[in-house]
Assembly symmetry: C2
Homo-oligomer: 419 residues x 2
């Protein structure tokens, strides 16, 4: 018997029939003797419907009132799921975030969880009840409802699991786990049975959308064993089979780790590259270029500055493609003349491809295999950035799929993992 947290997304909660399926799955775990806490999202479409209403009234809805509105979607979900469990004879009780309470800061629409009181939940679990808690939301110190931002239900589930010291947090979703890369690009992509927290964090930050990045950070900080698995299996499949399915995010590198050097290839086309040429190489120049960009609320991802030759250098960075025009305007209008730089050269047609793997810490030659593989395919590398467990390159975007497939093969990710 263990304390288990389940999280179900909006698609899993999307209709009365699907909610009944969720109840059947939870009932199966409860019947096996587990103490069950369930964190559901709003029914699919509901959050968008509410935000749509708000925007008809205020083009920039007041954040506090938007949270008042948006939090109702999950409240409906928990009530319906509690009914569905009772309908199949399982005692259950639902709580909104403020009832637990799940305490957050007061950053409406993007609040951060500060603490979770476990006393009420533990009393219910002790009495044999399934406890259902709204995802996505909490309450600030003044008693205002807050929400955690899009995808926040993942974070709620992991945070609840941390507060209750749950044995495992199971995130049910419409994919059956974390893959070596996107199977739509590389049909040979394999599901990873395990992945480390650090790798998952890199994958999430590199654009792999399986889990919200803050939930991964939370899992890492509180060492919550988190499993991503499919909500599309029949709810009555064998519990042991279900419990071993999907991908487990672990913290023990040597415990049964797959021995692959790298665990996956991440990629995205979301970015654009900007280069400021002929920049005087003097202290403070990076701030003089990026300061005005930050003031315009533009996030910068990769930043590259080469060693200078003859006192001048080129300074490159990437921004989200949606903010490319805005960033170019800032640079041309204010930065260029002020620092007496050369041309501002931009390119929105780039892709970022990354190899991620905790194994590369102890292996040399990962970077050279990556660069050789791209070279053999005739793909030019425009920018490079590295961390301890990932290497990212920027290439022309039309080569992205080719690069991903070639790297997936070169790193033997299509082969069964060695024991």
């Amino acid at each position: 018997m263990a304390l288990i947290v389940h999280k179900y997304g909006g698609t899993s909660m999307g209709s009365v029939e699907r909610i009944k399926n969720v109840a059947q799955r939870v009932a199966k775990w409860h019947a096996a003797g587990h103490q069950m806490v369930v964190v559901p999202s709003a029914m699919s479409g509901e959050t968008n419907r509410l935000i749509g209403l708000a925007k008809e009234i205020q083009s920039q809805p007041d954040p506090r009132e938007l949270d008042m509105l948006a939090s109702t979607g999950e409240q409906v979900s928990v009530g319906l799921l509690a009914m569905a469990l009772k309908a199949v004879g399982v005692p259950a009780v639902s709580y909104a975030g403020w009832q637990v309470p799940v305490r957050t800061d007061n950053a409406f629409t993007k609040a951060r969880i500060e603490s979770i009181d476990d006393s009420r939940v533990r009393a219910d679990l002790g009495a044999g009840r399934v406890v259902i808690i709204t995802g996505f939301q909490g309450v600030d110190a003044s008693g205002n409802i807050t929400t955690l931002g899009r995808g926040g239900s993942d974070t709620s589930a992991v945070a609840v699991a941390a507060a209750l010291e749950a044995e495992e947090c199971l995130i049910y979703t419409d994919v059956d786990g974390v893959y070596t890369t996107d199977p739509r690009v590389v049909p040979e992509a394999r599901r990873l049975a395990r992945v480390t927290f650090e790798e998952m964090l890199e994958m999430a930050s590199l654009g792999s959308k399986v889990l919200q990045i803050r939930s991964v950070e939370f899992a890492g900080k509180y060492r919550v064993k988190t499993r991503v698995l499919s909500s599309l299996t029949p709810p009555d499949i064998d519990l042991a089979t279900e419990a071993a399915s999907g991908t487990l995010i672990t913290f023990e590198e040597d415990e049964q780790m797959e021995k692959a050097v790298i665990s996956g290839i991440a990629f995205n086309r979301d970015e654009a590259k900007i280069t400021v040429t002929n920049v005087p190489d003097r202290p403070g120049i990076a701030y003089q270029i990026l300061g005005p960009v930050a003031e315009a609320n533009i996030d910068v991802d990769m930043i590259i500055q080469n060693a200078s030759v003859g006192g001048n250098t080129d300074f490159s960075f990437t921004v989200h493609r949606n903010e490319y025009q805005k960033a170019m305007a800032v640079l041309n209008d204010t930065v260029k003349s002020r620092i007496q730089a050369g041309d501002i050269v931009g390119d929105p047609k780039i892709a970022k491809v990354s190899v991620v793997g905790i194994g590369m810490r102890s292996h040399v030659g990962i970077a050279s295999l990556m660069f050789r593989t791209l070279s053999q395919e005739g793909i030019n590398i425009q920018m490079i950035s590295t961390s301890e467990i990932k290497i990212s390159v920027v290439i022309e975007d039309k080569y992205m799929e080719l690069a991903v497939r070639a790297l997936h093969k070169a790193f033997e990710l299509d082969q069964p993992a060695a024991a």
Copy 2:
């Protein structure tokens, strides 16, 4: 400058455009210097949608979870209305019942308000903000969300007005006040400028649907000046005109009261009559007949027992027409043989017509004018019951409209009120 409470029903909150109209109306009162508290209902159709979802999952939804679900409708309304006020430059803040808090007992789906904390609301009003509070709901001592039952938003508004000692509680609705009778039956029906609390209570209990009866009880208990007025006037009409429109429920009989002896004719076709004939006239017989009816959860309205002639009597009462068959079954199956009564005779085709008026306290001859009028129209009276300020009769239902029109004329309700 006064503290004013506005209540808007589901129709007034039924669309984004209508919510903007409500905001415009509230902004007008706020601009005139009033401290404003607004209690809106859920958008029309929303509560039914939520209850429909619940019933798809549990035919008898769990009451606590149903309240969790149903309370979200008003939460959406308050958030949207706060945004609509901010959109026109009026500072506003919304609260769910639990945030005020509005404390209730724990009778889920039909809770009663026990107390309302006014400190948070007063602080906001003092800071010049319009305060918007969810109707229909509160929180019990254990922190569970409760709802007050259908029409509960009227009660919420009056209770909030009582707690804040508001100058007046304005109930905006789709009729423009309380009438001497239903204008669909009597085109000459007049709107009453004022009506006493006691009269309003009788009218509500007799089926006039302008206000929920519990809200009238609340208004009476705490002496809340309550006005029923139209939400269909243009939101920018002159404030003084609007403030004097509709019908005011008063507590001071002699202060400018209309001098009419009776104030209105109420009627309904919701009831059915049942007579147990040849009942032995002995102590406890009423309990032996009505006890099993009450145990079957059937509400009884009028009860008539005549003085006995020769030791046996007839015992008659009325029930809601929906429960007629059930009541007849209880009487035939269990009561009849036990008390050795004669036949059980029932009639669902009845109507109840009542004259209501605080003036009849000091006037004789009201009953005889009522009975003579019905007699002149050839209408037979089947049952009579009276209170201090109303006389009700049961008649054959096909005569109902005729009776209402004749009584309306006989009591000169079609004439302008005397000063």
